[in-house]
Amino acid sequence: MAQTHLNNRERLKDIGYQPPAESDWLTGLHPMDPLLRGERLPHIWCQGCGLGTALTTFINALQWLEQHRGWDLDKVSVVSGIGCTGRVAGYLRLDSFHTTHGRAIPFATGLKLANPKLKVVVFSGDGDLTGIGGNHFIHAARRNLDITVICVNNFNYGMTGGQVGPTTPHHARAVTSQYGNFEYPFNLPYLAAAGGASFVARWTVLHARRLSWTLREAMEYPGFSFVEIIAPCSTAYARWNTEGTGTDPQKLRRRGLELMKHYQKVGRIGHEVHPKDATVKVDEKGLICEIVEGKFLSQPRPDLQAAIDDLAGGAEKRWGSAKKALDERPRVERRTDRVPRTEVQLGGFGGQGIMSAGRIIGQAAALYDKLEACFTQSYGPEARGGAAGSQVVIASDPIHHPVVIEPTSAIIMSQAAFDKYVPRLAPGATLLIDDALVNLPDDRRSDIAIYGIPATEIAGGLGNSRSANTVMLGLWTAAVGVVSRDAMRRSLAESVPPKTVDLNLKAFDTGYEKGKELLDSNRSRPEASS
């Protein structure tokens, strides 16, 4: 049998337990003391509340696991939310986290993913877990996160005085449903199972031993385990939803127990019951008339961590190729000529690679020509085919204003982009167009140089019309001459899929040659009148 705190007083000191004086040993040491923060007792729960029992069945289960499975209880973490059940965390002598209302489960998610060796248990109430916390509840079940969620269901929000909650039965009375609850409650086992839980069970606090056994099983079970514990709320819910207590003071004091006796009467054990049939049944007056308990579901499947680990291989490979590209980048010297602030505007429609083209220019300038470069982009509202624009600012000195004000060159590949951006060009700017896609209007500006080639057709001729933007980049490099050809080619090679590098370089070179031709023969577009 494992050495546990039960039978070794010295070890009690290890966990910060202050034992009472020797003379009190006869009555001072309870078997559960090692797992209770005795200095915080008595607890805040009401006479007749089910939480005391819920807590001790949990401690029981843990001690069994420690003794029979060798569990290291230092590795058990409990996370709770807000409410009476949420206070459980504060009385347990374990690593415990009393978080905010509804958020115990995401906190537990982070905790478990950060340290998979921890056994994480969420211990909270019906309102906390399935009201405000409902979304987190179903997603943790969906992920099959390896935690155990213990939900103490007393059918109302007890801490705040007994308001109606997501599990309050139809027609039952609560502080905020004084005419009877017009809403329908969750069937919690069904909710958990539908979400994707691997283990689903329900007991009432009267089933103390069975509950303890099930909690033990749930904590050992891989994946998302859910245990609903039905408990009385003697001060609130039981006061208005127990038959026959009347105003007899004796009975009122025992109302928690009266309610449990009623649950015992109307309860039945049904392990074979499907979670969808586990709804707590009520009569027209809102009084519970049937509760089925048992272990409804245990269905293992790989938990979240296993699923994550399964796919880890791809990451290593991807990093390997990125690192290789980084290490193989040639070292280049900083340019010695001074480049004044130069603004480039690119425009077209979505799908033409306007963004990639702008980025390639910026990257070429920044990493290969060792200049300062700033690249930004803009989109129209459409998902596909809408307007696309990008801008690059290049200079030798640090760039203050990151966006273009009056561009000195532009790459335009659609009519709409022409209409939008050409009016903003600086006098003397260079405009490069795909002249098969852009028609020059008669009243166009005469103070700019315009060079056009049918880039999309050229790219198509080379093998892929999608490289039209690359052809335009070649044209731009030749016509404007701000970023070096070498830098552009290197940046391009680094930016396109490896299989398309050759095609793209060819497209770039073709555009570049055409650009050189046009420049040499000074063949910018003639005046509109001719």
Binding site: D14, I15, Q18, S96, L111, K112, L118, L311, W319, H400
Partner: protein, 395 residues
């Protein structure tokens, strides 16, 4: 484990958002929980690809509330953690940002600001969450918030955010904006040996005997930051969002509130000198001082240059740390200058701090834009001229 596993040391032409992710990774962040939101989604995307490469965990939570809590949980599991969002998500994170402060949990929250309020302008710049960053959660607390002006600085300040959060055991904000987050510039990623990386003061198994261990130190003690015992080390800690005593147990009294709150607040206030960073230019002879942050500080540089060429003695006080606010510096300057100019992409937020600290001793003028685009240089220049009492030069 190889310290360099998965790192991408070298020069990159990097999107601001991606730079934030890389900075986090270099600082040792190995857990990210987030939710897609423009314009911060690229941070999540980069983390989702890169974290598995460095042996970390990326998880996309069901909403921003879950994301904020998950990063707190991960931090208590011993892992440096981060989330990223924009205005609407920032609002959702507020309650549990407060939980992080109360529990004294190191973690980083990046807000890539956009135009608001409400759904606003998802794809366009704003600087409208500055006051929310300071006061957004309920209750009294101090906050650390950093404001970068470029992708390189976003990278650097994310590292600094982690260092500050670990050192002071508090969530730290990186307040950037859609302009910086979505611009691409050169970013140099140094190797880990070249930078300082700070880890939380930690208590591990066997360091202290558990019955002597007090989870929160008294304010009177020399080191205001209590060593952190994470889950699983055998200290059987209890932490709660309720007001608590030095054992971490809830105590519902005014005395406990005073003890706890003064601890939390003074932890930051008493270390302002260490935390606050500003960039100063031309302040010695300044008559007008431009006080700005983030992208607006950057776009003020050209107006300042131009104004100085016109003979106006204008200087720059750039807030790299925006919270805590550099009150002393503003007070000092207000005693000898003519006016402050505060350019920001909002209806006037940080200007209130400048006004408060200037105490009426210097004029304070704002240059504002409600969001969507960065400030026009001419407007900032006009304001500088007006602040200096100079008419604009004839066209």
């Amino acid at each position: 484990m190889n310290e360099h596993r998965g790192l991408l040391t070298g020069e990159h032409f990097l999107l601001g958002d991606h730079a934030a992710a890389e900075g986090a990774i270099l600082a040792g962040c190995r857990f990210f929980a987030g939710y897609p939101i423009t314009p911060a989604t690229e941070i999540a995307e980069q983390m989702s690809t890169r974290l598995p490469q460095v042996g970390g965990v990326y998880i996309q939570m069901e909403d921003e509330l879950a994301s904020m809590n998950a990063i707190l949980g991960a931090s208590w599991g011993g892992v440096k953690s981060m989330t990223a969002t924009s205005g609407p998500g920032f609002s959702l994170m507020m309650e549990n940002f407060g939980l992080g402060i109360m529990l004294e949990t190191p973690c980083v929250l990046v807000n890539v600001q956009r135009g608001g309020p409400s759904t606003g302008l998802p794809t366009l710049v704003g600087q409208q969450d500055m006051m929310q960053a300071r006061w957004g959660s309920h209750g009294d607390y101090e906050v650390i918030a950093l404001c970068p002006s470029s992708p390189q600085e976003l990278f650097d300040l994310t590292i600094r955010a982690f260092n500050l959060s670990e050192k002071y055991r508090t969530p730290v904000l990186v307040l950037t904006d859609a302009e910086v987050g979505h611009m691409t510039e050169k970013v140099v990623i140094p190797s880990p040996e070249q930078i300082d990386i700070i880890h939380r003061p930690a208590v591990r198994k066997g360091d202290v005997s558990p019955d002597h261990f007090r989870i929160y130190r008294d304010m009177g003690s020399k080191d205001a930051v209590s060593p952190m015992a994470i889950a699983g080390e055998g200290y059987r800690i209890h932490v709660t969002g309720l007001t608590h005593d030095e054992r971490g147990y809830p105590v519902m009294t005014a005395a406990a509130q005073e003890w706890n709150l003064e601890r939390l607040v003074n932890k930051i206030r008493n270390h302002r000198d260490d935390i606050i960073q500003v960039e100063e230019a031309h302040l010695d002879d300044a008559q007008v001082v431009v006080v700005s942050y983030g992208i607006s500080a950057r776009t003020s540089l050209w107006p300042i240059e131009t104004a100085r060429k016109e003979g106006i003695r204008v200087g720059l006080l750039r807030l790299i740390t925006v919270w805590p606010f550099p009150e002393e510096r503003i007070r000092e300057l207000s005693r000898r200058i003519r006016a402050f100019v505060v350019p920001e992409i909002n209806m006037g937020q940080m200007i209130r701090e400048v006004e408060r600290c200037a105490g009426g001793r210097a004029r304070v003028m704002g240059v504002n834009r409600p969001g969507g685009e960065i400030l026009e240089p001419e407007k900032v220049l006009d304001c500088i001229r007006a602040a200096a009492g100079v008419n604009p030069p004839k066209p």
